[in-house]
Each structure stands twice: as C-alpha cells, then as structure tokens.
Amino acid sequence: MTGKLNTETAFANPDDFYDALIEAHRGLSEEQSAQLNAKLILLLANHIGDLEIIREALTLARGNA
C-alpha cells in the first residue's frame, strides 16, 4: 500500500522520541494513560490535518495492532 502516510523514520533520534513518550506516562494509572493517549492522538491528528493520511494510519493501526 503506498499512500501519503510516511512510515519511514522521520525522527533524527527515534530513541529520544520514544523516551519522551514513555516518560509522559510515568506515574499514571491505566485509566489516566488511556486518557493521555486519546488526547495525544487528537492533538496529533489535528496537527496533521489531512483526513486521507489519518484514514491510512487508522487502517494500518487496526490491521496490525
């Protein structure tokens, strides 16, 4: 499937990103973590602002997770 969604590495230092992500959840309950994730997705989706890309990502995530 080739679309507009970039699945190549976009971060110069992927480990820094991953660390920040995990760190953001530190000390949260499962419920709070799920809330954080939901908010995070909404924020990032709005930033992307392209439904075509988001649909592609939704399809991939559903297929793979």
Binding site: P14, F17, Y18, I22
Partner: protein, 534 residues
C-alpha cells in the same frame, strides 16, 4: 579446540614491604581489569613508570565482557595488542532481531569498507586481559603486584598514601597519582565515602556460557548477534545469543524480577531452557552460569584531586549495548596521555579536569542508552509494554518502527562535544569529524607500503594536512594527505579534505581543531587549549 585455562600469578613479596618509610611511586593503578591494564599499558608506553596492584591472582573469571568494539580495538592496536585479539576473536557486525519466532529487523553496524577493524569482535574478557597482560610484561616500566589489595587510602593535596593488604600483612606506599580502576565495587570509592548514584533495574537475567562442539543454526552458525523478543522457546521475555571464541556461546535469558537466583542457576533448570532455545540435538557443556541484576550508576566527579576513577569504579551500565568495558577503555585512552603530560611537567594539573569534563558526559550518554535499552526490554508499566508491543507489531512492515526497537544501542566512540579542550570550528565544515570526534580510520599508502591512517597518528599530537604549504616549522609532525597517501580517496572523503584543510589530533586520536587553511598561530593556540594551558 583448546579451552581457556586460567593462569595463576603468584604473590611475591616486594622490597616496599620492608621499607622503613612508605616507598614513593609516581603512578599507582589499582585494579588489573580491562581498564587498569589498558591505562597502565598506555602510561608505560608514554614513558611513565607504573605500579599496578590487583587483589586477585588471575584474569577475569566468569561470564563478563565479550563484545569488544571497533574503537576499543583501535585503542588496543595503538598499544600494540590488537593482533592476537583479532586472531582469537569472532568478528561480527550484523545483528538480527526476532519477535515471536519471526525475524523483524536486522542491522549492519559497519556497512562501509575501508576500516581496519570490524564493528565488533566477540572475545571473552579473560582472553582480552591475558593479551593485555602479555603486552604489559614487555614494559620494563611496569611492576605488577598480585594479591595486593588496597584497604586504605589517605589522599592529600600533593599525593596519596595507600595501605595494601597482602598474605604477609599490610604495608603502605606513597603515590603521586592514583588511578582507581578497581571495578564496580570499588574499595577506593567506598573508602573515600563517595556516592555512586543511579538506578537499579529489578529484572534478573540468566547468563549461560556454553561450550558447543557442534555450532547451532547451520553448519558454521551465525557470527551475528541474535536477539529475541518473546521467543516461543522463552515466552513473555527476551533472549540474546552471541558466539565467542573456542566454540563458546552465550545465551542470555531475561527472567523477570521475581526469579530466584540460586534456583535459576541449577543445571536442571537451565538445561531445559537451553534445549528449548537450541533444540534437543545439540551436545553442550556449561562453561559458566550466573544470574545478574543490572545497574546504571556513576560518580558525580571522576577526578578527586590526585585520585582518578576510571571504568566500572566511575560508572556502571547494564550490558545491553556493550558499553561497560568499551567505555572504560575509552576512559583509559582519555586519561593516560593527560596524566603522562602532567607527570612529565608538560602540562598543568588542570588538564586532568578535562578528563572529568569529557568522560562524565560520555558516561551519561552510555547510561542513557543502556537504560533505554533495558527499559524497552523490560517495560516498567502496562502502557509501556503496550507501546513496546505495538512497535514490535508495526516493525514487520514499517521501517519507522524498526528504528524504535531497542535491544541495545551498541557502543561507539563518544564524540567529546563541548569539551574545554576543543577549538570550535571557525571555518565551514560538515558535522562529521567535528572537534571532539575520534579519528576515523582510512587506508593509506606510505613509503610504498599500505597501512592505516590511525597508525600514522600514534604518540603525541599530530596534524593531517590536505594542502601544499610548508609545514616543517610547525611544532608537531604533520601527515600530508595527497592522492598518493590517500590511495582510495577515503581519508579525503571522511575528513571532507578540500584543499587547504588541516586537522589537529590529540594523542588519543580525537580531533582537537580543524581549519580550511594552514594557520600556524591558530594551531599554536589550539595546542595550548588542548593541553590545558589556555
């Protein structure tokens, strides 16, 4: 295949033990592990007499370091002992990552040619120490005392008194300088009341060294690093496989936090694990079994007056990434030339502060990387585990996720960014080989013979010049990089050697400064800066 037999080095009484006053020594290195041996060798080759003390009577025992990195090999080559290691060690550069039985990703740590040393060799720590020792014994300026345990230390402004326990009782000596390379449980650190701060990881790991007359996984077996997340043979946890010299293989099993270390080391527990991983068909004998918990900690400062901490005594990491021994050898490489200059009176004492300024951030980088790897392997919360599993699931088809998989970010030379010894770039340059970088090697041709750039940069400070002007008046030897020397054009490429470019290298082969033209006044200033005089 002959297996390793641990040598026994006899204790010998020294004249110092009968001396009415504590005998004076210039430099005393405490600990003959990887780091102490390297430091002693480097100092001796720089003409500094060294007394090396060790509380044991042999080389490293048990499952310890195996992955010796490219930069480490370059350092040991400078010290004249890499050849036997290369001969004995197993060369590798490819790592494969499996998840639930399927390969999801592989990486090549050295995809380009034109390097003398590979990304890694696997060689057991006892062999490495033995080869270092063989070289050390050729140095008349080094005295080694086995079964000499440092049990007391009294540091002063102008020297250090050490108390040493031996089978004949205790004696004292006086040292101008002490390198504390006495390992993770450093007695000197404890005796000086210094805090070793950091994180302890709860997960336990079973480390199994096996002798396998018949290699697994095909006739010759992979000389690759294999890492499994949640393999079918060890559900829920991770496992790691490395080949070592003498048909010895290492299997690492993550056991989780609740494992009982004594139970898990019993052969009746280990045999089924090994068989599940390798299959029933293989004959094997255990070389060594141990259960470890890992820590990431460091001393706040590596220099305490005349006592300098190096290696595990100064910083400890988890083994994922092979950063423990490899970073300790870089410590020794960094420290030896500085201490040699200070002892000879060629540089002020404060040059030694740069050892801490440079190797402290290096330790932080190693701790950060090895902590992240350990956290990825054993996620600390449900949500962390969920992200980890999502990364693994996405990695099969999407490259971005592969880069997030972290089974260990393997040791490379630390770039000494922000070092007070660096002269920042004034001319335009790409970031590669910026001041603080360890010199990249390249094939060269000199006097009709093929060789390597790093060989030509041994000893003291050196220049590398991609130009035509006369350099004879400069205070340092200069290697002129013309098309004849740079036989494959790789030095020019790796150093972006446009005409006129000049690099200044330190005695540890790190870049101190670089310019786009020959500027003797700038070179002088950079030399002063790199030796703590400015």
């Amino acid at each position: 295949m002959p297996r390793f037999a641990h040598p026994v080095f006899e204790y010998r009484r020294s004249a110092d033990q009968d001396s009415p006053r504590p005998a004076p020594h210039k430099v005393v290195v405490v600990g003959a592990g990887l780091v102490g041996l390297t430091a002693a060798l480097d100092l001796a080759q720089r003409g500094i007499p060294v007394l090396l003390l060790d509380d044991d009577k042999t080389v490293s025992v048990g499952s310890r370091s195996i992955c010796q990195a490219k930069r480490t090999l370059e350092i040991w080559d400078r010290l004249g002992c890499a050849a036997p290691m290369m001969e004995k060690g197993i060369t590798w550069q490819v790592g494969r990552i499996f998840c639930r039985g399927k390969e999801v990703y592989n990486f090549d740590l050295l995809p380009e040619g034109g390097h003398r040393f590979p990304a890694f060799i696997n060689l057991q720590q006892y062999y490495v120490e033995q080869f270092l020792l063989e070289r050390l014994r050729e140095q008349p300026a080094v005295e080694i005392r086995w079964d000499n345990r440092v049990s007391g230390i009294a540091p002063r402004e102008d020297g250090v008194r050490l108390t040493i326990e031996t089978p004949d009782g205790a004696y004292d000596i006086e040292a101008d300088w002490v390198i504390a390379a006495d390992g993770a449980r450093s007695a000197i650190r404890r005796l000086m009341g210094l805090r070793f701060k950091g994180r302890a990881f709860q997960d336990r790991f079973l480390i199994v060294d096996l002798h396998l007359p018949e290699p697994p996984f095909g006739r010759r077996g992979p000389t690759e690093r294999w890492f499994w997340f949640e393999p079918t043979f060890h559900p829920g946890d991770s496992a790691l496989l490395h080949r070592q010299a003498d048909d010895v293989w290492r299997l690492d099993f993550q056991l989780g936090p609740d494992a009982d270390p004594d139970e898990e080391c019993k052969p009746e527990r280990v045999i089924p694990r090994v068989k599940a991983a390798l299959g029933d068909a293989f004959k094997f004998e255990f070389e060594w079994l141990s259960v470890y918990k890992f820590q990431c900690r460091r001393l706040e400062k590596f220099r305490h007056g005349r006592v300098l901490f190096a290696g595990d005594s100064a910083h400890q990491v988890s083994p994922f990434g092979a950063r423990g021994g490899n970073s300790g050898v870089q410590d020794a490489d960094n420290l030896a030339w500085k201490l040699a200059m200070v002892v000879k009176g060629d540089a002020p004492e404060r040059l030694l502060d740069s050892y801490d300024a440079e190797r402290g951030p290096a330790a932080d980088e190693n701790i950060l990387n090895s902590s992240r790897s350990t956290d990825f392997m054993s996620p600390k919360s449900k949500v962390a585990r969920r992200f980890r599993d999502a990364v693994l699931a996405l990695a099969e088809s999407h490259t971005f996720a592969r880069r997030l998989i972290n089974s260990g970010r393997l040791s490379t030379a630390t770039v000494l960014d922000f070092s007070p010894l660096n002269t920042p770039d004034r001319d335009p340059f790409p970031p590669a080989m910026r001041p603080g970088s360890a010199a990249a090697d390249a094939p060269i041709r000199q006097a009709g013979r093929d060789g390597w750039l790093l060989d030509a940069l041994r000893g003291g400070f050196h220049g590398l010049y991609f130009g035509d002007d006369d350099t004879r008046h400069l205070p340092i030897p200069v290697l002129r990089c013309d098309p004849q020397l740079d036989r494959d054009g790789l030095a020019t490429k790796r150093y972006d050697g446009r005409p006129g470019t000049f690099y200044l290298f330190r005695p540890d082969q790190h870049v101190a400064a670089r310019w786009r033209s020959l500027d003797p006044a700038a070179i002088d200033a950079a030399l002063r800066r790199a030796t703590g005089k400015a």
